[in-house]
């Protein structure tokens, strides 16, 4: 039951709360209304009964008058009496009829037990001349009987009848008194008229007189003060006073006197009786009027009560409903606020409207919201990195507040550590002599280091995302994209080489290595990689490859030549032995000369290779000595002059002495002269100049009118394996390492070597050597 009540919703609970008192109040109201209605019904019943009593009283009066006129007619047989009797009878009949028409069970068949069934017989007997006694007896018995029906006082202490109680009782007494007075006066009239049976009548009436007096005593003791006063006034005036005085006088003396004759008495006593009757009727009317007023008041009171009850019930109900609604609404607002808080909102406004538990609850919720707001603001500020935000936990039990303080301290420490770590990473990345990049898990670049930006000459914003792709050589893009995609999808490490645009607009070969990177939790976060400029190495590699190809070709050429001549000689020798042909001295000499020349050429190539090897392993030995440069130049020119059509002119006005390896310097001069011959196939003049450009050095220059060299190649032709190549270039035999070796030799003598040349305008190669101290 308890659980059932708890599970009910709040409005239902509140309604149940008011339902029981409401039912109680309704029940009590109903009872009150019933009580009022009962009183009204009771009064209505009394009014009915009083009306009935009045009807009975009217009938009694009618019968008394009819008895009076019948008695007078029986005695006098005169016209007056007869006509009075005739007039009275319809009045009596009407009174009977009125009583009969009352639909009241208590009066059912009243005529059977009040002798009124015999009224017509009595009347016929009177009309036929019956004596006055007969009529007196008949009507008196009927009146007595009717008087007994006039009973409306079942309870003496009925509070509703208390205001009319005295009048109700006394009107009946008055009615009895009138009846008994009627008997006395009728018998007195008979004696006064007939002058007979005086003593007998007095004996018979003494008791009646006593009964009348006892009724009078009863009246005086029960009547209201007003009625007593009225009765006493009536008793002391005519017609009642002379009538009663006469009656008292007669019974005192016990004899009739001549104060009144019969008719005088009849009249006076009739008036006295009527006076009593009228008094009784007045009282009856007064009772009826009072009780009707009381009835009306009661009905009004009952209806007023009903109306007030309904109004009160409605008011109570309305108050209850309003209270229920207000409580529900207040709790609803609190619930709404609490829900907002439970959903995480801090923007909650709750007003304390009442000074009770609900108001207190509102205050608590408001306080939670305020606290949440403060906590949120603090957390927000801390989240934005404002670790100086002012926030103090309310007390040591403020778990959340203390947690936020701890969170702030931890975050502050972590942030500092992260900043430090980031700074370290930045320093490492920026100072690393390589280009470093990172991507996110969607292949988009999200970091490049300073080295990268320095290389590309672009901004960080330009490179992020896919911006960096713009720098890649279009011919390399699809190949690299494929490598990267494959590695990325399988989370493999990869290496790839491609050309990438440098800040100066030239494409440089880069070697890129990338590897997947993972968080400490093992979550894939993208790739990290480095790019190294391998351009020089790449070009060097290409040149080396070309050199090896070229070297093998160059070595094969003299071997091919030598092999061919040897086979030719073998053929000649074979034919000679078999006497097939003549011995051709010319062919043999040409062959052997060429073979010798080719072997020299082969030897020179081998020497160059050997020199290259020595230079590479830094084992090029120099045999230093003092010698005259002019002699060396002239000797070398003389040697080469024999093998070429070119005219080599030496200008050696200055005698230049140097300290160095004579053979190696000679090698350099030979190389420069050979090149001059080789690269000027269409001219015939080569100039050699020996001079001293400064006091501390001497110089030798070789000037040809040959094909020349583009400016862009000038500094490269002294590098190893470098050969001027191009579509329009003719191919020239040789390893292309002669100038490199020459340069190395001169550098080892602390000299310099350089070239001045323009395409198609010849070249001037010059080397200098220091003057020995």
């Amino acid at each position: 039951m308890n659980n059932f009540f708890r599970r009910l919703s709040l409005p239902v609970k509140l309604l149940l709360l008011i339902l029981f008192p409401l039912i109680l109040v309704t029940y009590l109201s109903f009872e009150l209304y019933n009580e009022k209605s009962n009183k009204v019904d009771l009064l209505a019943g009394y009014i009915d009964r009083i009306a009935e009593a009045q009807d009975i009283s009217d009938l009694i009066n009618a019968l008394q008058l009819e008895r009076r006129h019948s008695f007078a007619f029986a005695l006098k047989k005169d016209i007056d009496s007869r006509s009075q009797l005739e007039a009275q009878r319809p009045v009596t009949d009407l009174a009977i009829k009125n009583l009969e028409e009352r639909k009241d069970s208590t009066l059912k068949d009243f005529k059977e037990y009040t002798f009124l069934e015999n009224l017509q017989n009595a009347r016929q007997a009177i009309d036929s001349g019956a004596s006055g006694d007969v009529s007196m007896q008949y009507y008196t018995t009927s009146i007595f009987r009717l008087n007994t029906l006039n009973i409306i006082l079942p309870v003496g202490a009925n509070k509703y009848l208390r205001p009319v109680y005295a009048d109700l009782v006394t009107q009946k007494i008055l009615s009895e008194m009138a009846t008994y007075l009627g008997i006395i006066r009728a018998n007195f009239y008979n004696v006064l008229l007939t002058k007979k049976n005086m003593a007998g009548t007095l004996y018979g009436l003494a008791g009646v007189n006593e009964i009348y007096k006892s009724y009078e005593t009863e009246f005086l003791s029960k009547a209201s003060p007003t009625s007593i006063a009225k009765f006493k006034a009536m008793r002391n005036t005519a017609p009642l006073k002379p009538t009663m005085d006469y009656i008292n006088n007669v019974f005192q003396k016990f004899s009739f006197d001549s104060l009144y004759d019969a008719e005088q008495w009849w009249k006076t006593s009739a008036d006295a009786t009527d006076q009593l009757k009228n008094f009784q009727q007045d009282l009856m009317r007064q009772v009826r009027s009072t009780i009707t007023t009381a009835y009306r008041d009661e009905v009004f009171s009952r209806n007023l009560t009903l109306a007030l009850l309904i109004v009160a019930l409605l008011f109570v109900f309305a108050i209850m409903l309003y209270t229920t609604a207000v409580i529900t609404q207040m709790l609803g607002k609190l619930n709404e606020a609490a829900q907002k808080i439970s959903f995480g909102s801090t923007n909650v406004e709750v007003r304390k409207v009442s000074d009770d538990v609900i108001g207190s609850l509102a205050e608590s919720i408001s306080s939670i919201a305020t606290t949440n707001k403060q906590l949120t603001d603090a957390a927000e500020a801390i989240g934005k990195g404002n670790f100086n935000v002012f926030f103090v936990p309310r007390n040591e039990h403020d778990v959340l507040g203390n947690a936020i303080i701890r969170m702030k301290d931890n975050l502050k420490r972590f942030t500092r550590e992260i900043e430090k770590s980031k700074e370290q990473f930045r320093q490492v990345a920026d100072n690393a002599p390589v280009m470093i990049w990172m991507t996110d898990e969607n292949k988009q670049c999200n970091f490049v280091n300073k080295g990268w930006l320095k290389f590309t000459g672009r901004t960080n914003e330009q490179e992020l995302g896919y911006g960096w792709v713009e720098g890649m050589h279009p011919d390399d893009y699809s190949r690299c994209a494929e490598v990267f995609e494959d590695a990325f999808n399988s989370r493999d490490q990869y290496s790839v080489e491609y050309r990438f645009r440098r800040a100066d607009g030239t494409y440089r070969w880069l070697s890129e290595t990338g590897a997947p990177r993972y968080s400490t939790e093992g979550k894939f976060e993208g790739y990290i990689g480095t790019c190294v400029d391998i351009h020089e190495m790449k070009i060097h590699e290409q040149r080396r490859d070309n050199f090896i190809k070229m070297a093998s070709h160059e070595l094969k050429t003299p071997i091919t030549s030598i092999k061919g001549y040897v086979q030719l000689l073998l053929n000649i020798y074979k034919d000679y032995n078999e006497n097939k042909s003549q011995f051709s001295t010319q062919a043999i000499q040409a062959s052997l000369t060429t073979i010798d020349k080719q072997i020299i050429k082969l030897n020179r190539l081998m020497s160059e290779l050997l020199d290259l090897s020595r230079i590479d392993s830094d084992r090029l030995e120099l045999h230093m000595q003092n010698f005259e440069l002019n002699n060396l130049v002239n000797e070398t020119v003389q040697d080469i002059q024999q093998t070429t059509k070119h005219e080599i002119i030496v200008k050696d006005g200055t005698i230049c002495k140097v300290y160095g390896d004579r053979d190696r310097i000679g090698q350099v001069i030979l190389n420069l002269l050979s090149n001059a011959v080789k690269y000027s196939p269409n001219t015939n003049s080569i100039k050699v100049n020996i001079y001293q450009p400064a006091s501390n050095c001497v110089a030798v220059s070789v000037h040809d009118q040959g094909i020349g060299i583009d400016q862009e190649h000038h500094h490269k032709i002294f590098e190893r394996f470098y050969r001027v190549e191009g579509k329009s270039e003719q191919t020239y035999p040789g390893f292309g390492i002669g100038l490199f070796i020459a340069s190395e030799i001169i550098q080892r003598h602390n000299g310099t070597i350089n070239v001045k040349s323009k395409k198609n305008e010849g070249s001037i190669f010059t080397f200098t050597l220091p003057v020995p101290s």
């Binding site: 050429t557 030719l568 191919t731």
Partner: protein, 126 residues
């Protein structure tokens, strides 16, 4: 009969050209030598060449390009071409360019003579 055939030798190295000339003349062929492709055109225009021996690399123009041109031209397309080279992968390139035979350097004298003989027999035989 083939001993009187006229042969054009094209090689950018004069030593090699002279060596082949001596070899072939010793065997009785009539030989012209040039180290330049444009000079070769002059010889060819006279119309007295029965066979061409040429190096893959020539001064002025690539030997393979020249071979393609010769084989395209109806006037010269029937002349057999033997290409020689010291390069290791040259054989395929030369045969693709239309050469009838390929000989790698250094070559054997008997080998080149038998190939010349074979080709001349094929073209000069009725």
């Amino acid at each position: 009969m083939t001993q009187n055939a006229r042969i054009l030798v094209l090689d950018d190295d004069p030593d090699i050209g002279t060596m082949i000339k001596m070899m072939l003349e010793y065997k009785g062929y009539r030989v012209s030598v040039s180290d330049r492709a444009d000079m070769a055109q002059q010889v060819l225009s006279k119309g007295d060449v029965d066979l061409i021996i040429m190096d893959m690399l020539l001064s002025g123009v690539n030997g393979t390009d020249l071979c393609v041109d010769l084989k395209k031209n109806p006037a010269t397309s029937r002349i057999p071409v033997i290409m020689i080279s010291a390069h290791p992968n040259a054989k395929e390139i030369c045969l693709e360019a239309g050469a009838d035979e390929f000989i790698s350097k250094p070559f054997d004298m008997n080998d080149i003579l038998s190939k010349i003989d074979g080709l001349l027999h094929k073209t000069l035989s009725p």
